[in-house]
């Protein structure tokens, strides 16, 4: 007895087929489907054909058309799906493109070197020359010519590292100390060059500071110096505002606070708008909305006199900024010592 004849007809069978076809994913499943539906023996279509053999003429008329249409549809659908599966099959030369690539090794830039270059590029764009200078200095270039004579109280502000034995290098005073600021470069440059001057000097400086979250005995500084006729404090503000925007993003405001440095008059400490809260006040800026970033001012006439410039003829501005400080702020680094540990887990967070 054939169950098909009594249970369902070709129309219901077509529904069943469509449902089964929809589940086919592989060649093997398609082959099984083919056998089940249009195989020579035991398939749905074969069963319908067998049933047809014993049917009445009236039944043959209606049932037979349905069975034949089912057979055609099944064969066409299987052929079509076969084509689809063939198109999906991976060719022999295929690679798994989701495997990781064979990356050539590439080093990572040190964050301080990134800032140094970025600042250098900003000022090169503004028409400055970028200079470097000796790290072992003499007393004259580091202090005296910068209006800090031996008895000057400002020397208390900087705890200086001195050499055990002075070094005699070239002409000039014996070198006795590690430069405490890049300002020493101002003097070296102005001694050898007439105004106008427009330079930044970048490099390591040294102070006798114990290591902690915010201090290291060696750190890096950017010194800027512009000298010429009619250079003003407002020019300094415009320049530093441009630098702040280039370093910390458009719209970063700057604020000048009067301060004191022996080598500038007037002197100003410069704050940028807090980069975290944009001036609203947060923990990072101690609720003030401002973060101190550098010291600056108009070059003191005594400095010009020391290098043989006439302070009645020219004026100038100078500023000094800590590279580490910029990096700490820019990237949210919480411990300055990380810059000197050279831990690859830290360095690899920075690009090229």
């Amino acid at each position: 007895m054939n169950p098909i004849k009594t249970s369902i007809g070709p129309d219901q069978a077509r529904e069943l087929f469509r449902a089964e076809l929809a589940d086919v994913r592989t060649d093997a499943e398609l082959q099984a489907l083919r056998t089940r539906w249009v195989g020579r023996k035991g398939s749905w279509v074969a069963a319908f054909m067998d049933a047809l053999a014993t049917a009445t003429p009236e039944q043959k008329k209606t049932f037979g058309r349905g069975a034949n249409e089912l057979k055609k549809e099944v064969e066409a659908a299987i052929a079509e799906r076969e084509g689809v599966l063939a198109a999906m099959r991976r060719p022999a030369h295929a690679v798994d493109i989701t495997l990781p690539g064979r990356a050539p090794r590439l080093g990572h830039r040190h964050p301080l070197s990134l800032i140094r270059d970025e600042v250098g590029a900003i000022f090169t764009r503004l028409g400055y020359q970028v200079l470097e200078g000796p790290e072992i200095e003499d007393d004259y270039h580091n202090f005296e010519a910068l209006n800090m004579p031996e008895e000057h109280p400002a020397r208390d502000m900087q705890d200086t590292l001195y050499l055990a034995e002075p070094l005699k290098i070239g002409a000039g005073q014996p070198r006795t100390l590690l430069r405490t600021h890049t300002s020493a470069m101002q003097i070296r440059h102005m001694e050898k060059n007439d105004p106008p001057v427009r330079l930044v000097a970048i490099g390591p400086v040294y102070r006798k500071d114990n290591l902690d979250l915010t201090h290291t005995p060696m750190f890096h500084q950017v010194e800027g110096l512009v000298v010429g006729k009619g250079v003003t404090l407002a020019d300094l503000k415009g320049t530093l505002a441009a630098m702040a925007e280039a370093l910390f993003g458009a719209g970063t405001g700057v604020r000048f606070r009067p301060s004191f440095f022996p080598y500038t008059e007037p002197s100003a400490e410069v704050d940028i708008q807090c980069i975290k809260c944009k001036g609203a006040g947060c923990a990072m800026c101690k609720r003030t909305g401002w973060i101190e970033i550098l010291g600056s001012g108009m070059v003191h006439p005594a400095v010009f006199e020391a290098v043989g410039y006439d302070p009645n003829e020219i004026t100038g501005f100078a500023f000094g900024m800590g590279v580490e400080r910029v990096a700490l702020l820019k990237w949210g680094v919480e411990d300055i010592r990380l810059f000197y540990e050279n831990d690859l887990r830290f360095l690899e967070q920075f690009g090229l």
């Binding site: 495997l99 604020r255 007037p266």
Partner: protein, 674 residues
């Protein structure tokens, strides 16, 4: 400087809150460091810059606040000593260059605790109350900034004061109970017999005011900053007084301070001044006058400041102005020892007019910018090349431990620091390698297997500074990848990196085997350009690594070159290209068997000297020892390229050239062609 808000409000009418005052003063030159409630009052802590000793006082801070808020300053009450009374204590200054002025006054006193209000103010400002007289001197110190002292008149030997240098062997027991030996450069305040105080630093025990005191001499003086600094440093004794005298005090202030102290004395009922003020001022200094031209103000600041504002600010700060030519003659008050030039006045005007009014402008350009230090571009080139070769950039401290520097010193003495922060930072690095080795060690100890680092920085020797580049590499040389074979770093990886650096600098290097104290023998070479040694390459000696806590068994390959020496040998920027070859090249491979002690350099040299000029390149492409090769021999394979700029080479020519080479190898090196 800690000031009490109520005290400030006595001197200037500022109902504004401490926070508001702090905020404004922070942009007027007095940064507020801290605010602390003190009962109903507030202690404001202002950061006073080194040039402003006048602001180490209530009156100084109040004057700044009064100027900022444009309100009048109310001076504290002084005792009127006019007409001048009779002086009853003779004062003699023997060294007017060290003590420019000395004022004193005698008073009958009652020693008791000072009134509560005075004690409270002193306590709030961090000074421990003692008794009426001592508290009055401290009160005046805080209020006016003028240090004062009081001697018990009856303990002075002879009713006289001599300001003189200490005598040989003289000593004094100071108020802190210590006996201090004095030297002949130190200034003392003495009676007729012996030193009773160290000028500007501290008083002595013998003449200390005690409960039994009934008559005192108030002292207020002006001492030379340098003298007080030297004495205080030599004695290791810093006091509220010495700290102020060191920075420079107002030479016009001593008599005013005495008058104020006597007013307080009478106000609190602690006694009465008996005679007039004795004021010894051997070389009176005229008040300093500065001519300030109007145009200089806007010329320096880049913002206009109206004349009326200039005059208001200067007057509020205690200057007097008189019109003069295109500006003013400005008379500087005695307490403004920092004001010496027109620019100093312009700063006062600028900061009180407000830096917030500064426009943002740019300096004009008069000429093309000069070129930058050529080292910057060179270092960038080297840095970029090393990053491209997989080395990450390190920056290490320029001072290192003496023991770490040892192997790298060569015949030089170390450049040592006189006052290093610690033994870890005792000498300036002679080489970048100690720092890099420490960085490798740090990474290895933090679980990193492969470490590949470089540093570009300064090295120090007694001859000066040189810029170097150094690399260090340990671990895998190959990429750590699912697909491939792995290999540890070896000598040739690091040598290759250095060769690439030379290539980007357009120089060629020679390598020579060498003994280097910190490198493993026979895996170390010196690097030279045109016969000038510029560096080393090799395997780090395990003992050196061990001392820097490098894990045992780690092989670290290192190299260091002197970039300044490399640059000196690099050709000037005269690169001229050669045209591309017009005729084809011919490539021949050659395999030979030679003694394995022969260096590649020797074999290459023999090939080159025997070859015709048409041999343009020799490249080792295989080196094999093992199965099929006799002991002590090595099989070397070379790829030789022949080319002529003038014509296409014939087979016969190339063959003849090859034969010459083979003959030479056989004859000179006993090579066997394979």
């Amino acid at each position: 400087m800690k000031v009490l808000l109520s005290w400030i409000r006595e001197l200037v009418d500022v109902p504004e809150s401490a926070e508001e005052i702090g905020k404004l003063m922070s942009v007027r030159g007095l940064a507020l460091e801290g605010l602390e409630p003190h009962g109903d009052d507030v202690v404001m802590d202002f950061d006073v810059t080194a040039n402003r000793p006048d602001c180490l006082s209530m009156i100084g801070i109040a004057r700044e606040i009064a100027t900022a808020y444009d309100r009048p300053l109310k001076m504290p009450e002084e005792r009127d000593f006019s007409p001048a009374g009779q002086a009853t204590i003779p004062i003699a200054i023997e060294n007017p260059e060290l003590c420019g002025r000395y004022a004193g006054a005698v008073a009958d006193v009652k020693i008791a605790p000072s009134p509560d209000w005075m004690q409270a103010r002193l306590t709030a400002c961090g000074i421990h109350p003692i008794s009426t007289i001592v508290d009055i001197t401290n009160y005046v110190l805080l209020e006016l900034g003028q240090p004062m002292h009081a001697f018990d008149l009856h303990t002075l030997g002879g009713r006289a004061i001599h300001v003189r240098k200490a005598k040989p062997g003289e000593s004094i027991k100071t108020l802190d109970g210590k006996t201090r030996a004095l030297n002949a450069d130190m200034l003392v305040i003495a009676d007729a017999e012996r030193a009773q105080a160290i000028g500007g630093v501290m008083g002595g025990c013998d003449s200390e005011v005690t409960d039994a005191t009934t008559q005192i001499v108030f002292e207020a003086a002006w001492f030379s900053p340098a003298s007080v600094r030297t004495t205080s440093k030599k004695l290791g004794l810093r006091t509220e007084a010495s700290m102020r005298f060191e920075r420079g005090m107002d030479i016009t202030a001593p008599a005013r301070a005495i008058a104020r102290a006597c007013a307080l004395l009478e106000q609190i009922g602690a006694g009465k001044a008996t005679d007039g003020i004795v004021d010894v001022y051997p070389n009176p200094q005229p008040a300093r006058q500065i001519v300030l031209e109007r145009t200089r103000i806007s010329g320096l600041l880049g913002m206009p400041v109206p004349d009326a504002q200039v005059e208001r600010i200067l007057a509020a700060l205690g200057f007097t102005t008189a019109p003069h030519g295109q500006g003013w003659t400005v008379t500087v008050p005695g307490w403004r020892i920092d004001i010496k030039r027109p620019v100093d006045l312009i700063e006062e005007i600028g900061r009180h007019h407000g830096f917030e009014h500064l426009p943002s402008t740019f300096p004009g350009v008069q000429q093309a910018p000069a070129s930058s230090d050529p080292r910057i571009a060179r270092d960038r080139r080297v840095r970029t090349a090393l990053l491209g070769m997989g080395y990450s950039e390190a920056i290490t401290f320029a001072f290192i431990e003496a023991i770490a520097a040892g192997p790298f010193l060569g015949s030089d003495a170390p450049v040592a620091l006189a006052n290093p922060l610690s033994e870890k930072f005792a000498v300036m690095r002679p080489s970048l390698l100690p720092g890099l080795i420490d960085a490798v060690s740090h990474n290895r100890r933090h679980g990193r297997r492969d470490v590949q680092l470089f540093e570009i920085g300064t090295r120090f020797s007694p001859r000066g500074e040189t810029r170097g580049a150094a690399v260090a590499w340990t671990g895998l040389a190959t990429a750590d990848h699912w697909s491939g074979a792995r290999r540890d770093v070896d000598f040739f990886d690091v040598k290759g990196a250095i060769e690439q650096l030379a290539a980007v600098s357009l120089v060629s290097l020679t390598f020579a085997e060498a003994d280097v104290p910190y490198l493993v023998q026979s895996r170390a070479a010196t690097i030279a350009v045109n016969g000038t040694a510029i560096g080393v390459v090799g395997l780090l000696d395990a003992r050196v690594g061990d001392r820097r806590d490098l894990p045992a068994g780690d092989e670290v390959y290192v190299a260091e070159i002197n970039l300044d020496a490399l640059t000196a040998q690099a050709p000037a920027d005269t690169l001229r290209t050669t045209p591309l070859p017009r005729y084809p090249s011919v490539v021949r491979d050659l395999s030979i068997l030679v003694d394995d002690a022969l260096s590649a350099e020797t074999v290459r040299g023999t090939i080159r000297s025997a070859a015709p000029v048409t041999l343009i390149q020799v490249r080792e492409f295989d080196r094999y020892q093992g199965k099929g090769i006799p002991d002590g021999k090595v099989s070397l394979s070379f790829r030789l390229t022949f080319q002529s700029p003038e014509r296409t080479l014939t087979d016969e020519e190339v063959q003849a050239g090859m034969q010459q080479i083979i003959d030479a190898l056989t004859r000179d090196l006993q090579a066997l062609q394979r």
